[in-house]
Subunit: 253 residues, 2 copies
């Protein structure tokens, strides 16, 4: 550890408009080279969901969508695009809240977020929306494997998206896909400096890493990838699902 | 901006056990000197709630607490300390959920969190618990004023605590007090690279900064303060209250 201990967050720009079928690992390696960044063991890569979804073709042309009656009524009541609402409903397993023009659902993956992660921002084409990757952990695993093959060492991957929260205003970046690191740090049973045994401290570190990455990514800065360097992560086969509250313990279903 | 753009998170240890009445700004300046860190304009200081509460004497000796019947029943049912439950109830404005041994309340400040922020970890004395600071924004403002007087320039302050979330597993650091920076970054009305006007992007950047700081603070590493260097914050009179969802818009009361 240097004195003081330090974590660095580096932002990678230099990405083209990502389109379906593009080789995302190659784009990331090219972006790093353009920024004169050499990946190093210990680095963590945070990649925004948007470019993953674009590369995987998780895009919907709204001109192909026929809204259901429910979608049409909701859209009319709240001045929304009925086709986009229809896509939200199709991506949803369960409606959590539908009020005040806000549509919060549980996605097919189990994420609870606004609009099932369907988003029209930072997408080319006026009638196109992006979806969350079909399986963000699998997306992260593929990226990890491709980068390991290219680099010769392991880089943990976090795929991030910005979600709203209950009770708190504003959205924050969270981890939707994880590969190569523990998504949580479990301190239960460990003893603090005063001899107190911690009993409730499970830190969602992958979410904190995703949040940290957002600070350099921004929403309009064209930096869809961040490198986090110097964080003592636990190498493990963590997943984005590790960050979902077990429904049987969730008091806010 | 360097190439690539970079944010650094530095952790400050070298704190004594903080006790009521201690001069927190002096302790922070001493810790920085011990780590050979010179504060610089542009730095943001994240300070964990625990040392703020200790310095302010926001501690309760449980031996002085007479539990109410409700506290005693709940504690007996779930194997908790009835005196600590009583303190939680006293710190609460409203019970949000009380089930499965979990007590989630709205604090007097308006925060929704487990146990009203009452916590026995990292506190000296087996019968002592810490409370959230009475007014975390005021605590942040005092720290900001004292450090500005000492340093000759402004350092924005975030006071952080770790809160659980609905739907997601694990706790994350959030901002409970803020001074000298905008707590949110409001992108509404701005246009992305594809000409799409963002309509829902309000980033809770103070929460993301708090989360980033936790990565270096840890729970057991004795680093209660982090410096975030290189983040292009908006200098403004933001507050921790800016991060609370307006009750009239909160679908998860």
């Amino acid at each position: 550890m240097p004195d003081p201990p330090e974590i660095r967050i580096l932002g990678l720009g230099h990405f083209p408009e990502v389109t379906p079928g593009m080789d995302l690992p190659a784009l990331i390696l090219a972006a790093a080279a353009a920024e004169h960044v050499a990946f190093a063991p210990g680095d963590i890569l945070v990649v925004t969901q948007k470019i993953v979804s674009k590369a995987e073709g998780a895009l919907v042309d709204l001109r192909t969508i026929e809204p259901s009656d429910l979608a049409a009524r909701w859209a009319a009541a709240w001045d929304k695009d009925a086709r986009q609402i229809e896509v939200v409903l199709r991506e949803s397993k369960r409606i959590v809240r539908m009020a005040n023009g806000v549509l919060i659902t549980e996605t097919q993956h189990g994420f609870v977020c606004a609009n099932a992660g369907v988003d029209a921002s930072n997408v080319a084409g006026h009638d196109t929306v992006s979806l969350l990757p079909r399986d963000p952990d699998a997306s992260a695993a593929r990226l990890r494997a491709a980068l390991r093959a290219a680099l010769g060492f392991d880089l943990p991957i976090i795929i991030s998206d910005s979600f709203g929260r209950a009770w708190r205003y504003g959205i924050v970046n969270v981890a939707v896909g994880v590969a190569g690191l523990a998504a949580v740090a479990d301190y239960r049973g460990r003893t603090d400096a005063h001899g107190y045994v911690l009993n409730a401290s499970i830190l969602a570190v992958a979410d904190e890493l995703a949040a940290a990455a957002e600070l350099i990514m921004g929403k309009l800065d064209g930096r869809p990838v961040a490198i986090i360097r110097g964080y003592a992560y636990e190498a493990a086969e963590g997943t984005g699902r590790d960050l979902l509250m077990d429904p049987s313990r969730d008091l806010f279903r």
